[in-house]
């Protein structure tokens, strides 16, 4: 069931002129508001993603982290605001944008193998009514290899562990061969070994010149894994390089009174990492 959107008349929100977005910025969000059932989840979000960075979206539960990604990809209707990729509308640059959905969003008992799922990343290149060719299958196999799952390529996906399933989704995104990746909790429910493997893949993606924007839950690892951070709680509390933005003050603003000792620990880590640079 899709959420019901109660549109605010566009002219109420969008009085200003269309801002000039830099064509270098892989993702520019301007004055974006998203609402479910009358209740706004995101309010007036403005954000410009820097190119070739690993960006974490961080915030408490219900802050609208997943919503931000889905609304950018037109998976959820926007009440207002604009989203541009490299200064262009999403539908014109789809092939340059990859997506990793939440692992729980699909039924893993579906009758497909790990390789089949990765091949889905090639479907747009394949075109309608065309079966998967050998070349595409081999490209998909290489992507599986990059996440260390070549041996389980033919296994039905319910026989993979949670961490392997997450990596299959990552491999599918790699198979899209995009320049910007939006990832919804790529580290959710994976063991520490898988987490390290995923971080490796993300770093390799960055060194290939790509940009990754990922919803992330673990504040402690933000300074270690990511270059930039978006602190989100219905609106963007702060966004920018981790060293500048990931501060105790900003975290407190984002999490309100719910800032746990965990976040304080994260702050300590952040300071250490910052000083270490």
């Amino acid at each position: 069931m899709s959420p019901i959107l109660h549109r605010t008349p566009a002219d109420l929100v969008n009085l200003g002129e269309r801002p000039e977005h830099s064509p270098e910025s892989p993702l520019s969000v301007h004055a974006m508001t998203v609402a479910y059932h009358r209740k706004p989840v995101l309010w007036d979000v403005d954000y410009d993603a820097p190119p070739n960075r690993l960006v974490a979206i961080v915030g408490p539960n219900g802050a609208g982290k997943s919503t931000l990604i889905k609304a950018c990809l037109d998976l959820l209707p926007r009440a207002s605001g604009q989203v541009e990729f490299w200064g262009e509308a999403y539908r014109r640059v789809r092939t340059r944008v990859g997506y990793v959905p939440q692992r729980e969003s699909v039924d893993w008992d579906f009758p497909v193998s790990a390789l089949d799922v990765v091949c889905m990343g090639r479907y747009r290149r394949l075109g309608w009514c065309r079966p998967v060719t050998r070349a595409h299958r081999e490209a998909a196999l290489r992507c599986l290899g990059q996440v260390g799952l070549r041996e389980v390529a033919d296994r039905q996906i319910s026989r993979l562990s949670g961490g392997q399933q997450q990596r299959v989704f990552l491999a599918r995104a790699l198979a899209q061969e995009a320049e910007l990746y939006l990832m919804d909790e790529p580290f959710a429910g994976v063991d520490a070994a898988t987490e390290r493997a995923i971080v490796e893949v993300l770093r390799r993606m960055k060194s290939d010149g790509r940009t990754v924007i990922a919803v992330h839950h673990d504040l402690q690892t933000v300074p270690e894994y990511f270059d930039d951070v978006i602190l989100l709680n219905m609106r963007v509390v702060a966004a920018g390089p981790v060293g500048e933005v990931f501060t105790r003050e900003n975290l407190q603003k984002t999490y309100g009174g719910r800032l746990t000792p965990l976040a304080e620990a994260a702050e300590a880590v952040a300071r250490a990492a910052f000083e270490g640079r």
Binding site: M1, I4, K70, L73, D74, L75, R91, R94, V97, Y99, P101, S105, V106, D107, F110, P111, V112, S113, D116, V117, M120, Y123, R124, L126, W128, C129, R130, P131, V132, Q156, S161, G162, G163, R172, D191, A192, A193, T194, R196
Partner: protein
């Protein structure tokens, strides 16, 4: 004999002879019977193929509502035909009415979901029962008040395969071709939309259009099946073959082929049986035939079947119990275990009675032990190796957790066999070295 009886080989309840059975199976039992058998086979094929998309898109209940929602359409189409002065039972008009009202039912479910806070199951239940109730009322009103030709209308509720005519056969053949072609052409499109709708959207696919194509196929199958199988049972021709097929394969394409075959075989066997058993409505027998295939799949399928799973469970229990036993023998340095001692180990590890009873046989068959006297076991050389290896891996695992707990996989199918797979070679070597250094538990290298 009325037309609805003409498909039956036998007039009475006699037991059919072998010759009659063969004739029916080989389509030699008369033109009408042959027509029915071929027609329901084609219908089964189409329904089986389309049913795969229905079940994997999790639309089984919606499809049931869709089928029930055809009934008022049939009644209204009949009244319109009467008003236009057409012969009452103009089949194409009735089926068009059925299709329109089925689509209306699905639209109603969507509207209820959008404009109320009801959940999907409630919305489906409402549409299914209200439409079906309206259809039943309309049909009985027609039968009480309307003029001629209304007698056959009620057969749409349970279906009557015997009314299949040569022209219907052309329609059913066309339907089967369309279903198979659609499955071949759009296999990957249908699969992705069923598996991960949002990813399909991100690729820029129009998921609505693909869903519409799938729903159109469903409506076609339902409407074509109304005549033979009826409003109530037609949904099972879609669902049952697909569910049965899922037991035999883990691949989408194979599942579609198997489901089509199961559907065709059910349609064929069901109509043959109903021809041989007078007064058994073909629709119900077809559904029962499909149900029998499903039951057999559920029980006997090699990897997902109930029996296979029970067997795997038992083998695993036996393997674990055997490992415990051999580990104990290794630790105590004994080569033979009398029955009383095995009983004590069984109690300590809370083995089930069945495992305790089957364990000696299992160990003997795996060559790990031989029968000693009085129900005891004497451990073979292979059994001693295994025991040493289990003990070593348990120690390694404990050491691993101590040294590397921060990175320990949080979800490991814990079995001693997997220690080598879970842990990399360097870690195993590192752990062994650490243990040797501490002069801890003796670690035998078994590789």
């Amino acid at each position: 004999m009325g037309p609805e009886m003409s498909a039956h080989v036998l007039a009475s309840g006699d037991v059919p002879t072998l010759a009659e059975v063969l004739d029916t199976l080989l389509l030699r039992a008369g033109f009408n019977t042959g027509l029915v058998v071929v027609g329901t086979t084609l219908l089964g094929l189409a329904a089986g193929v389309v049913g795969v998309f229905v079940t994997l898109r999790k639309r089984a209940l919606v499809t049931d509502a869709l089928a029930h929602a055809t009934l008022p359409g049939i009644a209204i189409a009949f009244l319109i035909a009467g008003g236009l002065g057409l012969a009452g039972r103009t089949l194409p008009l009735l089926l068009a009415g059925a299709a329109v009202s089925a689509i209306l039912g699905v639209v109603c479910i969507g509207l209820i979901l959008r404009h109320s806070r009801l959940r999907e199951d409630a919305a489906i239940g409402i549409v299914l029962s209200v439409f079906f109730g309206a259809g039943v009322v309309a049909l009985s009103w027609i039968q009480a008040n309307a003029a001629t030709g209304s007698a056959g209308l009620a057969t749409f509720i349970y279906g009557q395969a015997a009314t299949i005519r040569p022209s219907d056969l052309v329609v059913l053949a066309g339907l089967a071709i369309v279903a198979v072609l659609a499955a071949i052409l759009f296999l990957k499109e249908f699969a992705l939309v069923c598996f991960d709708e949002s990813f399909a959207r991100v690729l820029g696919w129009r998921v609505g259009a693909i869903d519409l194509a799938m729903t159109t196929l469903v409506v076609l199958v339902v409407v074509a099946g109304l005549q033979a199988v009826g409003v109530i049972l037609v949904v099972s021709m879609l669902i049952v073959p697909a569910v049965a097929a899922r037991f035999w394969t883990d691949r989408f394409g194979t599942m579609t082929i198997v489901a089509g075959m199961v559907g065709a075989v059910s349609g064929y066997l069901g109509s043959v049986l109903s021809a041989l058993l007078p007064r058994q409505p073909a629709g119900a027998v077809i559904v029962l035939a499909a149900g029998a295939v499903l039951l057999a799949s559920l029980l006997f399928a090699p990897s997902r079947g109930v029996l296979a799973r029970a067997w795997r469970r038992l083998s695993l229990d036996l393997r674990i119990a055997g490992d415990h036993l051999l580990e104990v023998a290794h630790e105590r340095g004994v080569g033979a275990l009398p029955a009383a001692q095995i009983d004590r180990i069984a109690r300590e590890h809370a083995w089930s009675v069945r495992v305790r009873r089957m364990l000696p046989l299992s160990l003997r068959r795996r060559g790990l032990a031989e029968g000693g006297g009085g129900g005891g076991l004497s451990i073979t050389a292979a059994g001693r190796d295994r025991g040493a290896r289990v003990a070593r891996n348990h120690v390694l695992w404990a050491e691993y957790l101590v040294r590397h707990a921060d990175v320990a996989p949080n979800h490991v199918d814990w079995s001693v066999d997997q220690v080598e797979h879970v842990l990399s070679e360097e870690i195993v070597r590192e752990l062994e070295a650490a243990l040797a250094e501490r002069g801890g538990a003796p670690v035998e290298s078994t590789s």
